[in-house]
């Protein structure tokens, strides 16, 4: 019996080796699945329902950018063909297991060319192995933990949390060199990465982290953590959590009479999410941003913002125009278009090559001075610059120029 099993195994191995040998060279010449002469199929798995359904705005944002491209006939790619983009969106409720099931379904049944804008660090970790085995591009992940981007078939989009930590550290060292920092962090890889990066960025200076408290998304309130942080005697509060706890922290910092210098990560700092905490309480909050501020009632004369607002109205998108997540989705859709334009062949390899060699690519919603730049083998971070903003009670006002870490995103 043992013998039988092992001989069967070796037979299977040999068959597998043969298949790889035969299929390998052919694979490179045959066109990849999900792409024809007039269409390319892109899959998205994201949380449309569940506790973090707010992230569903990303998929809607991508659609907001893709719709007008298709209405105009499609996108002219570098191989000379014009293709329409077909989007397939699946709901995963931000559950990594469901993300894997969805991506499997997208790759095998829907036969998509690539998956786009997968949200959440654990979710991207869950699909990493499958993506690599099947050689499906996992393009422009919505996760700030870029250590995922090492493998061949993945590339992120938003800046690394280490970039944001370094930006915050730079602000503090310039303006408050003796800062005593209290840190409220989400107890996942997101918060831990940020904490480690902040620690190393301020090491050797007069500033120090005097207290750190973790939160989880299951905590009903975070006042206990905040009281402990306040009691530490800190004069600076740094918040890297989801929008709900970020808003709670901002309210506590003002209402408790603590009034520290408050820096809030851009994942929690959008005006829409601070509103329930009382905009009066949010006055003075500092955040870092890579997207333009969009004010639908006074759009100004920025061509990119105007185009975004027009597309948003035409696509009848559900998210509000100042929703940073919807804007990120729109920017990701824009970046996808740029990658497709520069692909020299209709293959997945060509797509990754294009995404890994972006050269100062401009997007409609990126702040002036911030572009997408990557380099195969060296630079896996498309966005490595951030600009600081301070909330004045009604809108965010810029605080200095864009701070660039191009080509030198800090490791943690």
């Amino acid at each position: 019996m043992q013998l039988l099993t092992s001989s069967r195994t070796s037979l299977a191995l040999r068959a597998f080796a043969l298949a790889v040998f035969v299929a390998g060279p052919l694979h490179a010449q045959e066109p990849s699945p999900g792409i024809t002469d007039d269409a390319v199929k892109i899959g998205i798995s994201g949380p449309l329902t569940g506790p973090v359904a707010a992230l569903g705005a990303i998929a809607d944002g991508v659609r907001t950018r893709i719709d007008p491209i298709n209405a105009a006939g499609g996108i002219k790619m570098a191989d000379g063909k014009t293709r329409k983009i077909e989007l397939v969106v699946e709901d995963d409720g931000l559950d990594p297991q469901r993300t894997l099931t969805n991506v499997r379904k997208l790759a095998e049944r829907e036969e998509v060319f690539a998956v786009l804008a997968t949200a959440g660090t654990p979710n991207n970790q869950a699909i990493g192995r499958y993506i690599t085995q099947r050689s499906v591009p996992n393009l422009f992940m919505y996760s700030g933990v870029h250590e995922l981007s090492g493998p061949e078939w993945e590339i992120g989009f938003v800046p690394s949390f280490t970039t944001e930590a370094a930006t915050f550290a730079k602000y503090l060292l310039d303006n408050k060199p003796q800062a005593k920092i209290a840190l409220l962090y989400l107890n996942t890889e997101t918060g831990q990465t940020f904490q480690a990066a902040l620690e190393s960025a301020i090491s050797g200076s007069g500033a120090s982290i005097v207290a750190a408290q973790p939160v989880t998304s299951a905590d009903p309130t975070v006042e206990t953590q905040l009281s402990t942080l306040k009691a530490s005697g800190a004069d600076t509060l740094v918040v890297i959590t989801g929008p709900k706890q970020g808003a709670e922290a901002v309210r506590f910092a003002t209402e408790s009479g603590w009034k520290p210098t408050t820096l809030v990560s851009n994942i929690a700092a959008s005006i829409a999410s601070l509103k329930p905490a009382g905009l009066e309480n949010a006055k003075g909050v500092i955040t870092s941003q890579f997207l333009k501020q969009v004010n639908a009632s006074a759009p100004g004369d920025d061509a990119g913002v105007k185009r975004y607002l027009a597309d948003h109205a035409a696509a009848q998108s559900k998210f509000s125009t100042d929703d940073a997540l919807g804007q990120s989705g729109y920017a990701i859709g824009d970046a996808l278009a740029k990658v497709l334009e520069s692909m020299k062949a209709p293959s997945r390899e060509a797509m990754m090559e294009a995404a890994r060699n972006l050269d100062h690519t401009q997007l409609d919603l990126l702040l002036p001075g911030i572009t997408l730049t990557t380099k195969a083998g060296e630079d896996v971070y498309p966005i490595e610059s951030l600009q600081l903003f301070q909330f004045d009670g009604a809108a965010y006002q810029p605080l200095g120029d864009v701070i660039s870490f191009e080509g030198k995103t800090p490791k943690h």
Partner: protein, 293 residues
């Protein structure tokens, strides 16, 4: 020392939140012997309706009144449409049905209003007082006061009125109650209606602190269940005290027990409940049922 008292107050504040949902859970258990896992999500739906009315320009007092009455009808409707058909089924069936209510009402809110968090209008002034460095907010005091009145009223109705007696009787044994002329179905309907309204009051009280969102009550359910078990499932006052104990234990434990920290804080309510139940199986204020053979 200041930190200790501040955390004590913080604990009471979060305890009041747990107690508010626990109160609604106890009420429906007292009236129908069912633990309704969907109670918090039904309350969230009501809170959304109140918020929507305010957005449309209805004064807050009026909209609370309207939605309070509508919540009563919602409770009655849910009982008639969903619970009554399975009332003779096994406990497991009823548990699954109430879990279904949980999923349904959450999905309904998500579908109608989206996932963004909203500002629920506050009923109490925003300020507070500094007493020797310890911060006490007006909203915490207000919530505690309202809950205390609510628990006392409910306790008194159950204990001292004919209506309360009839409700208790129909929950305890529907067949025998029928024989002595109690209109059992009407009593159960009333129980669901009252519980839904109580749930709405709870949601309206804590809404400004938790921010209105479809999942606002979800993290609280576990703590509320622990509070109700701790206080005793048939005592409204017990639910209130249980909630406060859980809140304070969580707040102090997470900070002063280094091996627990903020990561394991969810263990605290469960541990406290377990210890109390070992000593007193019916909960702090629960009454044991004596069965004569």
């Amino acid at each position: 020392m200041v930190l200790f008292f501040q955390l004590l107050i913080d604990g009471l504040a979060s305890g009041a939140i747990y107690a508010s949902l626990a109160l609604a859970l106890v009420l429906i258990f007292r009236a129908t012997r069912i633990v309704n896992f969907g109670q918090g999500e039904m309350a969230t739906l009501s809170a959304y309706c109140a918020w929507q009315l305010c957005e449309w320009g209805v004064p807050i007092a009026l909209s609370l009144l309207i939605v309070g009455a509508a919540s009563f009808l919602l409770g009655v409707l849910v009982f008639r449409a969903v619970i009554k058909p399975v009332s003779k089924a096994s406990t497991e069936t009823v548990v699954v049905v109430t879990l279904g209510l949980f999923v349904f009402f959450q999905a309904l809110c998500l579908w109608l209003w989206g996932a963004d968090q909203r500002a629920f209008p506050a009923m109490f002034p925003g300020g507070g007082w500094d007493i020797l460095g310890v911060r006490v907010t007006a909203s915490t005091l207000g919530i505690l006061l309202v809950l205390l009145c609510l628990a006392a009223t409910m306790g008194a109705i159950f204990r001292f009125t004919r209506l309360g007696l009839a409700m208790r009787a129909s929950a305890y044994s529907s067949e025998k109650s029928l024989l002595v002329g109690i209109r059992v179905e009407r009593m159960l309907m009333l129980g669901w209606g009252f519980a839904a309204t109580t749930g709405f009051i709870a949601a309206a009280l804590v809404g400004p602190r938790l921010f209105l969102s479809p999942t606002m009550m979800m993290p609280i359910l576990l703590y509320a269940l622990a509070s109700a078990t701790l206080g005793g499932w048939d005592s409204p006052l017990g639910a209130l005290v249980g909630g406060l104990i859980v809140g304070v234990a969580e707040s102090l434990g997470a900070t002063f027990l280094p091996f627990i920290g903020a990561d394991l804080r969810v263990v605290i309510p469960i541990a406290v409940t377990l210890v109390i139940l070992l000593v007193r199986p019916v909960g702090l204020f629960g009454s044991s049922t004596v069965v004569k053979v």
